[in-house]
Amino acid sequence: MPGVHISLKAEKVFELFGFPVTNSILATWAVMLLLTVGAWLVTKNLKLRPGKLQVAVESIIEMIYNLFVTINGDKTLLFFPLIATLLLFIMFLNWFGLVPGVGSIGINEIEEGHKVFVPLFRAGTADLNTTLAFALISVITIQVVGIKTLGKEYVGRFFNTKSPIYFFAGILELMGEGTKVISFAFRLFGNVFAGEVLLTVIAFLLPVIAPLPFIAMELFVGFIQALVFSMLTAVFLSLASTSHEH
């Protein structure tokens, strides 16, 4: 399609000590800065009789807690830092792709003889590297939690020597853990990248009023994908930390 710039992989913007910094890394840094500064500002003067801002933030945290307490029960506080961070970080990272200027403001570079447009920012989760990192963090945490709380019983789920059928089922479970990584990574990447492509194409065809419902849909999809990622992590964490004795 002439004139539309869609690239499957994130483009490199500059190099830092030999490490290529892509535009999705810049977006991730921007959202990290935003969330960290926001968290510091809100918790600067925590009072026992809170003002309005503290009450609002506390009620949001309580809503997120109530969402996860039905899945994890009394271990919710233990897992809360990971799953709440996944929820908030992925949600804001998805929404960052909708900020005006992301994906459209950039530099024209000359590569291999012809002009290539390199946007300065790009939605952080529209890069398979980012989503793969999130997926690996989740799945490795699930394994560590399983081994820590259940010990030998957890390893016994995968290497069951009771009978050949149980052994085969154990190997299938092991492969299931690997497909969890791929499934997490591709679900998040596919939804956000496809949303970006859709918005680019619609803005290319009808720039004036038509993108509005699609941007609304992208807001919704960004929130739902963050929710699904964190809830699936919470569900697998609860499966890994609860004992299933036959």
């Binding site: 869609i6 690239s7 499957l8 969402l67 039905t70 499934s183 591709f186 679900r187 990447f189 596919g190 939804n191 990248f193 496809a194 492509v197 739902i224 994908q225 929710l227 699904v228 809830m231 699936l232 569900v235």
Partner: protein
Amino acid sequence: MSDEGIKMVATAFTIAVGAVGPAIAIGMLASKAMEAIGRNPEAESKIRTSMILAIAFAEAIAVYALVIALIIKFT
């Protein structure tokens, strides 16, 4: 058929066929969830949460097909 032509056909075919299964799955999920809510309106929020989780699983399959279609088109 030319190289460019077969690429386009492959892209269209991938996403067209890949979206049929998840669409049927999501329809069945939502209809069963609505039946369950109709039978027991008190458990609405629990049913809704489980339904959204299951729909996200089903939609992920359609997203896999979409990612392959995009890879075929853009490389």
